[in-house]
Structure formats: structure tokens, C-alpha cells
């Protein structure tokens, strides 16, 4: 089954056509500058069966981008999608599993769109366009939050007035679930054990967002992100954990404008806030000289937060089989892996400095032979994860129907 996976950004549309269950990539690309006109025209960078091409065109909305991508694919009968898989960041309390889209699901998706105001609305608009233009094509939605639906009550509850928490839906949802689930599957394969036995700490360290996930029996039992993707680690522009009194103090300073504070905590804090010049941890490691001192401090704050959560999750996963590093920083920054694991010998974590520095092909085990906990670097692939989940959903439904 050929499944086209869409990952919708606010002004972009990434896609991959994957033949399942073989997980063979047939086509991929990205539509850029989707939405209102910009100085440069919109463009689709498209690769199909190894051939690359660029197409310049206006794409006033995600529906137009989708339509253009489908036209490119339909030129070749081998590339016509048989199903569509959408990534949705937040499924709220309604969606604790991935779904095949029907009228009811679509209505519920509309209800949860405000939970992730940057990511969910464009994904929903794309979904609506797909349904309108290709009503016969089965569509699935894969939620980043669904993998975390197994987080136990003690971890997902905030100590808030119970009624308030219920009416406002205040609970930990967790994010990056698609990636954490994928690398957990790959780690289990790598270690030669069933996923259902895996205990791990997964470190999804992206150049933008980042989170750690505690995994027991292949299921998420905690995630550093919470009700929103703001909580947890220090990220490129997000503050991560913050005393709620500080957040309220900032609202008072902004004369009650909590939207402005929310924007500041999401877009101007984190590494960018600490350094004032860069939101990328790679720049901090590369820079020295006079500016180096404040950048070094920012790097320490970033790394310390990861290390604190790593220690916390090493304990609650009860002698995990492995730590998994993934995404841009986790896969490609040996210095980060070293900084957050060094000195943890007593906790059974011993990184091999030579292997770590070598940058070998992934997946790879970077722990010493004596390390009780294996330290894996695994390339994440959220599109394949979405294709897997979509294929399983559709196959199961077909099986049940027959």
C-alpha cells in the first residue's frame, strides 16, 4: 500500500510517499512558502524514484499545495497514493489512539485544534482539503500525543484543584510521541528484544523542540513536555520548566497581556533568550572568545536540564536497557551526548568517548562494553512511523471488516 505522509508546518508542507509494509520511500519533497504571497514565489522541491525537480508556483493555502503535490505524483501510475497519513501534534483528551478520519473524527479534530494553535489548525485545513479533493482516499491521523496516553495517573496529573483540572483539561499530554515510539521500536530491534520488554530513556533532542521520554514495557510512562510543548527541557526558543509564579509575574509586568508572555516564553526564551544571539546549541559549542563565557553558561543550563531529567528517568524506568539519542542534536552532537552522560558510571551509564566522537553510521551503540545501560544513537523517522501507524490502522480495519 502506497501511503503519502503529510507533515504540515505553518507555511510549509513536507511529504513522503512510502510503500508499506516494506517501508520503501518512493517520493518525497517539501512545498515551501505556502500561504500569503512573499517576496519569493512558492516552490515544491520534489524527488520521485531518485529524480529531483523543483517547481515554482503560488500556493495560497495548504489545499493548493496538496493539490499540486498530488498532480506531480499522478504523472506516474507507480506513485499514485492509496492512502493519506497526517501528522497531528495534539490529540487532546479525545484522541488517545490514532484514527481513520470520518465525519465524527473530523468534528472532534476541530474541537482539539486550539490545543496546539501553531500546528493543529494548518494540519486540519489540509485534512479538509484532502477530503474535499480526494473523498475516496482513506485518511488517517497520527497524533504526537497518542504514544503518551499510557502515562500513569501519578505522572500525568497536576496537583491542581480537581474540578479546575477537569474543566480546563489540565493534564500532562506529552509530545514527540511519534518519534519516541519509532526510536523505541528501532532500539528494541537493535537490542534483539520485543518492544513489549523494552525499558528505555528516549532523548529526542531537536534543533528546535526537545523532550525526554521514559519508556517501560515499550510504553511511555512519562515525558518532559506537559499540557503544552512549553514544559520541560530548555529548547531553542522555549523556556521549558518555569516557576508558575514567574509566569504570573511576567503577566503582571505585561499589564495582563498573557498572550504576549506566552509568545515570549515560546519564541524568545530558551537558548535564544539566554544568549541573545543564537537559538542553536551547535552555535554555542562552536563559539569561543570574548562572547564565549555567556554562551558557555547558556550551554550549561541547557545541558544541565537534560541531565537532571535523564537521572530522573533512569530511576523511574528501573534499570533501563538503554538511553536513546535521536533527532538533529541527539544524532549529530557527540559533545551533547558526552556532557549529559559523563560521570553517571554509578547509575550504570558509561559512554565510550572514542565511539562517541567517531560519528559512525546509525543506529549505533556508543556505550562501553561494561556499561550496564546501552547508549544508542538512532536516526528518527517520523514519516515512516506515521506510515507504520497508518498501515496498521487500515490493515486492522480491513481485517475486521472482512
Amino acid at each position: 500500500m502506497r501511503i503519502i505522509v503529510f507533515n504540515c508546518g505553518s507555511s510549509s508542507l513536507k511529504y513522503r510517499l512510502i510503500d508499506m509494509p516494506g517501508e520503501i520511500e518512493l517520493a518525497a519533497g517539501e512545498a515551501e512558502r505556502v500561504g500569503p504571497k512573499t517576496a519569493l514565489p512558492g516552490c515544491i522541491h520534489h524527488t520521485a524514484l531518485g529524480e529531483k525537480e523543483d517547481h515554482t508556483l503560488d500556493m495560497p493555502d495548504h489545499g493548493a499545495a496538496f493539490s499540486a503535490v498530488m498532480k506531480l505524483l499522478e504523472r506516474d501510475a507507480r506513485l499514485v497514493p492509496e492512502a493519506i497519513g497526517h501528522r497531528m501534534v495534539h490529540g487532546g483528551a479525545i484522541f488517545d489512539t490514532h484514527v481513520i478520519v470520518d465525519e465524527t473524527a473530523f468534528r472532534h479534530l476541530e474541537e482539539v485544534q486550539d490545543l496546539a494553535p501553531i500546528h493543529n489548525p494548518p494540519a486540519l485545513r489540509l485534512l479538509a482539503a484532502c477530503r474535499q479533493l480526494y473523498p475516496k482516499l482513506p485518511e488517517t491521523v497520527v497524533f504526537d500525543t497518542a504514544f503518551h496516553s499510557t502515562i500513569p495517573l501519578a505522572a500525568r496529573t497536576y496537583a491542581l484543584p480537581a474540578q479546575l483540572a477537569r474543566t480546563h483539561g489540565f493534564r500532562k499530554y506529552g509530545f514527540h510521541g511519534t518519534s519516541h515510539h519509532y526510536v523505541a521500536q528501532e532500539a528494541a530491534k537493535f537490542l534483539g528484544m520485543p518492544l513489549s520488554e523494552l525499558r528505555a530513556v528516549s532523548c529526542h533532542l531537536g534543533s528546535g523542540g526537545a523532550s525526554l521520554c521514559a519508556i517501560v514495557h515499550g510504553k511511555s510512562v512519562d515525558n518532559t513536555m506537559g499540557y503544552s510543548p512549553l514544559q520541560g527541557l530548555v529548547m531553542s526558543t522555549r523556556s521549558g520548566d518555569l516557576d508558575p509564579s514567574i509566569a504570573l509575574g511576567l503577566v503582571a509586568r505585561a499589564q495582563g497581556d498573557s498572550r504576549a508572555v506566552e509568545s515570549m516564553l515560546n519564541r524568545k526564551s530558551g537558548l535564544l533568550g539566554l544568549t541573545g544571539v543564537s537559538a542553536d546549541i551547535r552555535d554555542l559549542f562552536a563559539t569561543g572568545g570574548a562572547q564565549g563565557e555567556s554562551l558557555a553558561r547558556a550551554a550549561q543550563v541547557y545541558l544541565w536540564r537534560i541531565r537532571k531529567y535523564l537521572g530522573a528517568y533512569l530511576l523511574i524506568t528501573d534499570r533501563p536497557h538503554c538511553i536513546i539519542f535521536t533527532d538533529t542534536i541527539g544524532e549529530k552532537m557527540p559533545a551533547v551526548r558526552w556532557a549529559v552522560t559523563t560521570g553517571l558510571d554509578a547509575l550504570g551509564v558509561v559512554l565510550d568517548p572514542l565511539k562517541n566522537a567517531e560519528a559512525p553510521p546509525l543506529p549505533v551503540d556508543l556505550a562501553t562494553a561494561t556499561s550496564r545501560v546501552r547508549i544508542l544513537a538512532i536516526a528518527t523517522n517520523e514519516e515512516v512511523a506515521i506510515a507504520r501507524a497508518s498501515f496498521d490502522l487500515l490493515a486492522n480495519t480491513e481485517r475486521l471488516a472482512s
Binding site: A154, A155, T157, Y158, A159, L160, P161, A162, H168, F170, D222, G226, Y227, S228, L230, Q231, S239, D241, L242, D243, P244, S245, I246, A247, L248, L250, V251, A252, G256, S258, E262, L265, K268, S269, G270, L272, G273, L274, G276, A298, Q300, V301, W304, R305, R307, K308, Y309, G311, A312, L314, L315, I316, D318, R319, G343, L344, A346, L347, G348, R372
Partner: protein, 367 residues
């Protein structure tokens, strides 16, 4: 040394009048068993209270517990006009706490004009917390004015010292997980006498959930409450500081002691929540300390340390690859009053030493 200790609280001022020093000097029994204690509405009433109890012995030092001392006060001090002016300057950083302390100091100076008055700060222990731990990832200009503190420094300091003396390793600083079981519980990872990590934040609202405070929450929740037209920022602050924690989860006020011991299902749920977050803090402590020599419990509910130990220790031992039942743990039963009395005596001693030094230097100059 005859001591009077004052602990200002929401409903009045807790006091203790007694002696510290050798066991023989302590009134009413061994260690810290005796003395006169109670709660008074104001410090001004205390003179009358002591008179009624026919206690007219001179007080060598009156010690007041202060919550916030900022970076200025890294140890207990004897109050004089200069010190009080420095304290007032901290008002912008922690208005409520500093105003409260200043009011009690004023009352104490008026009521006991001839008695040396000491201040012991909960934050002093955390002055040396590393920058990587104190810093929030906020834009410069905001991030520099706020930092992480701990708010049970007096307990952590005393408990760590006691643990090191009783069970600590010889020849190197002990790596201690210090668990303060109080209305707002707090865990600190301490190396020797230096804290490396603490669960509380810029205020005691952050961290572990308490009897009324929410503890760690997504900051987006605070913002959502502030943005709600039916709630707003002030009400949100009240909700997070006075209506959350075990009270919010259960719907009735419960002490930490009750949460740790009660059998009712809803209380068990709140207990599980608390113990889970304590486990996370313990794991963080292990990573910060790169191992662990032991766990010490202190605070008003220190006696329930065994219940927390039963939950925490096995998982710590498994993480550290230690046989179960081998990690040392200890309950520090020293009450806050005794810790404060000791702090006051230390401040007096330090002042005496300083005066001696000044006198000596003065003489040397004369020579």
C-alpha cells in the same frame, strides 16, 4: 545560652524560650525537649507571656526565622541598623517575605530593646547553588532578576551535617539526598554542605506539591488561567498557592503527615502523586551527585521519613546497583526551633569573634 526563637507564620508567631548548649543545660530533659513554647498573635505580647510564666531570666539572643535573604545574607546575622537597611533593600526581590521579616524585627527590637536579635535565613544555604541550577531560560533582563532558591535551607543544612556526622563517609564530602518533609516538601541534593540541586524554584510554589501549593506545572497552565476572563492573574495566583496541592486534589485540607499515612483511596492517590514526584527528584539528585551516600529526612513530618524511605530507597538502590537495604538513611529529628537557636548562637559567636578581631587590629594599629 538562654535563647528566644521566633517563627513568624500566617496565623501568628510561634515562639520557643529555652536554653541550648550541653545536654545538662537544656531545660526539661535531654537535648531539646524542654523550654516554653506556643503561638502568640504578635511579638509585642511576648513580654507579657514570659512574665506570666515567671520567666525573667535574661535572653542571650533572640533568633527570628526569615524566609528570604537573597544573595546578601549567606549566614545568620545579628541585626543592627545597617543590617536592617540592607534587608529592606531586598524588598523589591521578595516583597511579602521581606516585609513580614522586617515587621517582626521591628516588634522584637521594640519589645526586647536590650536583647541581641539574630536573623537566620532559609535561603542562605542556597546562595552557592550553581548557576546552571539557578538560571531560568528567559530573555536577559528578566532572567537575571529571578533565580531558583530553596526554602528549607535551615533543615537541609542541619540534616546534612547530622547525616555526615553519623553515617557519612570519612575523608570526602558526603553525597546526600536531603528530604525535607514539611507543609511544602522539598528535596535537595547536597555534596558535603553544598547544595547542587533543589526542587523549589524562584518561589516555594514550584517543585514538589505541598499542602496547598501546586508544585511543578506547565507554565502554559498559569498563563491559561491568567488569560481566562473568569479567573485572571490574581485569582490564578491564589489558586496555585492556596487552593492546589493536596487540598486541591482531595477537596479538603490534609497535612503532609496525613497524606503519607492515611488509608483512604483518594489520599492514596495524592500520596502516589507525591511519591512519584519525589522519585523523579531523587533520580535528578543521583545524576547531580554522580552517586549517593545516603538519604536524610527532616522537617515537621520527619517522623514519617520511614514511609518515604520504603518507597524511594529500593529504586535508588536498584539504579545504583546496590543490594536492597544497604543504602544508609537517617531521620534528623532536630526541630526548627533548635536549629534556629543554634543559628542565633552561631551569629553571636561570629559577632564576638569579629569584635575581638577588630579590637586586636585596633590595638595593633595603636602599637
Amino acid at each position: 545560652m538562654n535563647s528566644l526563637v521566633l517563627i513568624p507564620g500566617k496565623t501568628g508567631v510561634r515562639y520557643w524560650r529555652g536554653s541550648i548548649g550541653s545536654v545538662a543545660e537544656v531545660e526539661g530533659g535531654p537535648a531539646f525537649g524542654g523550654g516554653l513554647c506556643g503561638i502568640t498573635a504578635s511579638v509585642g505580647d511576648l513580654g507579657a507571656v514570659l512574665a506570666v510564666n515567671h520567666d525573667d531570666r535574661p535572653i542571650d539572643v533572640l533568633t527570628i526565622r526569615a524566609v528570604y535573604g537573597g544573595l546578601d545574607f549567606s549566614a545568620p546575622i545579628i541585626v543592627d541598623d545597617r543590617m536592617q537597611a540592607r534587608l529592606l533593600q531586598l524588598g523589591a526581590q521578595s516583597p511579602l517575605s521581606v516585609a513580614n521579616t522586617t515587621a517582626v524585627v521591628d516588634d522584637a527590637r521594640a519589645t526586647f530593646p536590650d536583647t541581641p536579635i539574630a536573623l537566620a535565613f532559609e535561603t542562605s544555604f542556597f546562595v552557592g547553588l550553581p548557576a546552571r541550577e539557578t538560571t531560568y531560560a528567559l530573555p536577559s533582563g528578566i532572567g537575571q532578576s529571578v533565580r531558583r532558591w530553596g526554602y528549607h535551607g535551615l533543615f537541609h543544612d542541619a540534616a546534612s551535617a547530622e547525616f555526615a556526622q553519623v553515617l557519612g563517609p570519612r575523608g570526602r564530602p558526603a553525597r546526600i539526598l536531603s528530604v525535607c518533609l514539611d507543609a511544602s516538601p522539598e528535596i535537595a541534593a547536597v555534596l558535603g554542605r553544598t547544595p547542587l540541586v533543589v526542587t523549589s524554584g524562584n518561589t516555594p510554589v514550584e517543585g514538589l506539591p505541598g499542602e496547598f501549593n501546586c508544585g511543578e506545572i506547565d507554565p502554559a497552565i498559569a498563563l491559561a488561567l491568567a488569560a481566562d476572563p473568569e479567573i485572571g492573574p490574581e485569582r490564578a495566583n491564589l489558586m496555585l498557592t492556596r487552593e492546589s496541592g493536596y487540598f486541591g486534589m482531595l477537596g479538603w485540607p490534609a497535612t503532609l503527615g496525613e497524606v503519607l499515612t492515611e488509608k483512604r483511596a483518594r489520599v492514596a492517590q495524592a500520596r502516589e502523586h507525591l511519591l512519584y514526584h519525589m522519585s523523579l527528584a531523587a533520580g535528578t539528585g543521583l545524576a547531580a551527585l554522580e552517586g549517593l551516600d545516603g538519604v536524610v529526612f527532616s522537617g515537621r513530618y520527619a517522623e514519617h521519613g520511614d514511609k518515604v524511605a520504603a518507597h524511594l530507597l529500593p529504586s535508588i538502590e536498584r539504579t545504583l546497583d546496590m543490594p536492597v537495604g544497604t543504602l544508609p538513611w537517617y531521620i534528623c529529628r532536630t526541630p526548627l526551633e533548635a536549629i534556629l537557636a543554634e543559628a542565633g548562637a552561631t551569629a553571636m559567636f561570629a559577632r564576638g569573634r569579629a569584635r575581638e578581631r577588630m579590637a586586636r587590629e585596633g590595638m595593633e594599629q595603636l602599637v
